[in-house]
């Protein structure tokens, strides 16, 4: 049987399995519904409509060792609006207002509808934070991220690095299902989604370029898709909270307008925590098809960041190491990698208000300007 035949067969069997589930679960569904309705929800979790504002923000300053013209104050404000309809539906949206080069940049980080189908299944639709790795989905709020800039492999908040982030993903438009089970002491989750996917950023013709650089892609998360292909992806989380967690993520989509060039990303993330010590890291790799006269070679880019922090009372020193490896087209090196070492310290006034200061030693090949810099901000969550 060919590989394609095996895939088709597997899909058929999974379809039959799902059909059987759909026909059989009359009792199971009834039990589930009954359980949710008979919870102590009546007394504690009053299922009424509610509107709530939450969010976070920062004010700060960035100083470069050279290129003083680029020293600047920074500010950002990200309100999160939550509207809960009874106890099964939540609409949530996060806006971002950030000062960049004298202009106030606005953005809609996510706007999603969550439907709690069962105790273990949640369905989300709209623009949501993509569960690829953990930083974008869980750690990017400035009062949660312990370093005053984001890891360069992802980009986002004051993450200028001189090289393109490996995977500039934060949110995308589509639909997602999440299943979580918690067999004591474990916590296991599976997230599966389909979104519009990546798109080529600007015009690009490999033949016109004098020096090689990778065609840039983005996740525009607009209401129109640039091609007919959608991007499926999944993440599995296995945790032994609060001490340990490991996550594996995968996604695949086309990024050109014709839907020919393939983009595949995968990520392994892990974290460890004991008492006041916390360590975490993420490795990601992206494989990007290019179109040349010889065919469709694959460009491989990969890198990681690792971060450790230790809390002494209100003080928390943080160390972060980021490495972006050389880009390779098939087996040929086509671009230099980069490295960043970040040393920082946080002072916590409360669980959600802190001053975070960090110094970045940025080592980028091919960039003459020494862009080592000092970043400080006050991060607050509310």
């Amino acid at each position: 049987m060919t590989a394609m035949g095996i895939k088709q067969s597997a899909r058929w069997w999974s379809g039959i399995f799902c059909l059987a589930l759909a026909l059989a679960p009359t009792d199971l569904l009834a039990q589930e519904t009954e359980a949710v309705e008979e919870e102590p929800v009546g007394e504690r979790v009053v299922p009424t409509n509610a509107f709530l504002v939450s969010g976070y923000g920062t004010v700060g300053y960035v100083a470069r060792l050279e290129g003083e013209d680029e020293n600047a104050f920074t500010a950002s404000f990200s309100p999160i609006l939550l509207f809960q309809f009874q106890d099964r539906i939540l609409f949530e949206a996060e806006f971002e207002f950030e000062l960049t080069e004298g202009v106030t940049e606005t953005g809609l980080e996510y706007a999603q509808l969550d439907y709690v189908a069962t105790d273990n299944l949640t369905v989300t639709a709209g623009k949501f934070l993509v569960p690829f790795g953990v930083f974008g989905e869980r750690l990017h709020p400035t009062w949660i991220n312990k370093f005053p800039s984001s890891p360069p492999i992802y980009g986002h908040h004051v993450a200028e690095f001189g090289v393109e982030p490996l995977f500039p993903i934060l949110s995308d438009v589509g639909i997602m299902g999440r299943v979580t089970i918690a067999p004591e002491p474990w916590q296991i989750s599976l997230n599966g989604y389909v979104t519009q996917g990546p798109a080529l950023e600007g015009e690009f013709d490999l033949e016109d370029e004098e020096e090689f650089h990778a065609p840039e892609f983005e996740f525009p998360a607009s209401s129109a898709d640039n091609n007919t292909g959608k991007m499926p992806g999944a993440r599995i989380d296995v945790a032994l909270p609060p001490w340990f967690e490991v996550n594996g993520s995968f996604l695949n989509g086309d990024y050109d307008d014709e839907g020919v060039l393939d983009l595949t990303g995968w990520n392994i993330a892990a974290e460890f925590r004991h008492s006041n010590f916390e360590a975490r890291g993420e490795y990601l790799q992206v494989r990007q098809e290019l179109e040349t006269e010889e065919g469709f070679p694959t460009l491989r880019r990969h890198g990681f960041y690792a971060q450790a922090a230790y809390r002494f009372g209100p003080w928390e020193p943080v160390f972060r190491w980021t490495k972006i490896f050389d880009d390779k087209l098939e087996d040929d090196k086509v671009a230099e990698g980069a490295r960043q070492i970040g040393i920082g310290i946080d002072y916590w006034f409360s669980p959600s208000v802190a001053v975070m200061a960090g110094f970045e030693l940025n080592d980028e090949s091919g960039v003459e300007l020494d862009n080592d810099r000092f970043v400080i901000h006050v991060g607050f969550g509310y």
């Binding site: 899909r11 999974s14 379809g15 399995f17 589930l21 199971l28 569904l29 039990q31 359980a35 008979e38 919870e39 102590p40 929800v41 504690r44 979790v45 009424t48 509610a50 709530l52 939550l82 809960q84 106890d87 939540l90 949530e92 709690v116 189908a117 069962t118 105790d119 273990n120 949640t122 989300t124 750690l139 009062w143 999440r178 299943v179 979580t180 089970i181 918690a182 916590q187 599976l190 599966g192 389909v194 007919t228 292909g229 959608k230 991007m231 499926p232 999944a234 945790a239 909270p241 609060p242 086309d254 839907g259 925590r273 809390r311 009372g313 209100p314 006034f349 409360s350 669980p351 959600s352």
Partner: protein, 213 residues
């Protein structure tokens, strides 16, 4: 062709997710009938799950009703089960007592010889322990879900430090202040301010001292 395959794969994944969720048993929380146990387990889940990404927030930061919406938001972000949501809410709402409210009127048991308002003067914080309150202290530890996070005599959670021997490791003044104002020495402490009355503070200390014997 690739796009069609992706759509098919996505459908299969969706069916799989739905199928798995239907097969799962209802959450452990659904069987919880004991309120105190629910609150204690909620304290443990709150510390374990919320602390994975950020400092857990104090229960008094939001009203009971607001916590319902906040936890619904975190249910999606933190991949919580329905059972865990109910446990966490039970804990947050049970411990969401406003420390600004006046301490309940003191009973005769509140009057500890030599003790004044805890936190006011260091000398008064070192008043002797009233061992006759030890039994009441055991009740308070359960009612306030202290054992959800702290272990004592082999019982309780492991989110916070052990209570075994704490009466020897820390002086009485520190313990009295910590029980009344948990963030006085650590601004990010996840221990909620439970607005304990003076009697409850003394009862807890008595229970801890009794356990030492």
């Amino acid at each position: 062709m690739k796009a069609i395959n992706r759509v098919r794969a996505s459908r299969s994944l969706g069916c799989f997710l739905a199928g798995v969720s239907l097969l799962l048993p209802t959450s452990a929380g659904a069987q919880d009938s004991n309120e105190a146990e629910l609150i204690m387990s909620g304290a443990a889940v709150y510390g374990k799950m919320c602390g994975r990404c950020h400092n857990p927030r104090s229960p008094i930061e939001r009203s009971d009703r607001e916590w319902v919406t906040i936890i619904a938001h975190m249910r999606v972000r933190g991949n919580l089960t329905g059972g865990q949501v109910r446990q966490i809410l039970a804990f947050l709402q049970a411990t969401n007592t406003d420390p600004g409210q006046p301490t309940p009127i003191a009973s005769s048991a509140d009057v500890v010889e030599g003790a004044g308002t805890p936190g006011a003067v260091n000398g008064e914080l070192e008043a002797p322990i009233r061992l006759d309150l030890a039994e009441r202290g055991g009740q308070v530890l359960r009612e306030k879900a202290c054992l959800g996070c702290h272990v004592l005599g082999g019982e309780g959670g492991n989110v916070g430090p052990k209570l075994d021997g704490v009466i020897d490791r820390r002086d009485l003044g520190y313990l009295r202040r910590k029980l009344r104002d948990p963030t006085f020495d650590n601004s990010t402490s996840m221990m909620p301010n439970l607005a304990l009355s003076q009697e409850e503070v003394e009862a807890i200390l008595a229970h801890l001292a009794k356990k030492r014997e």
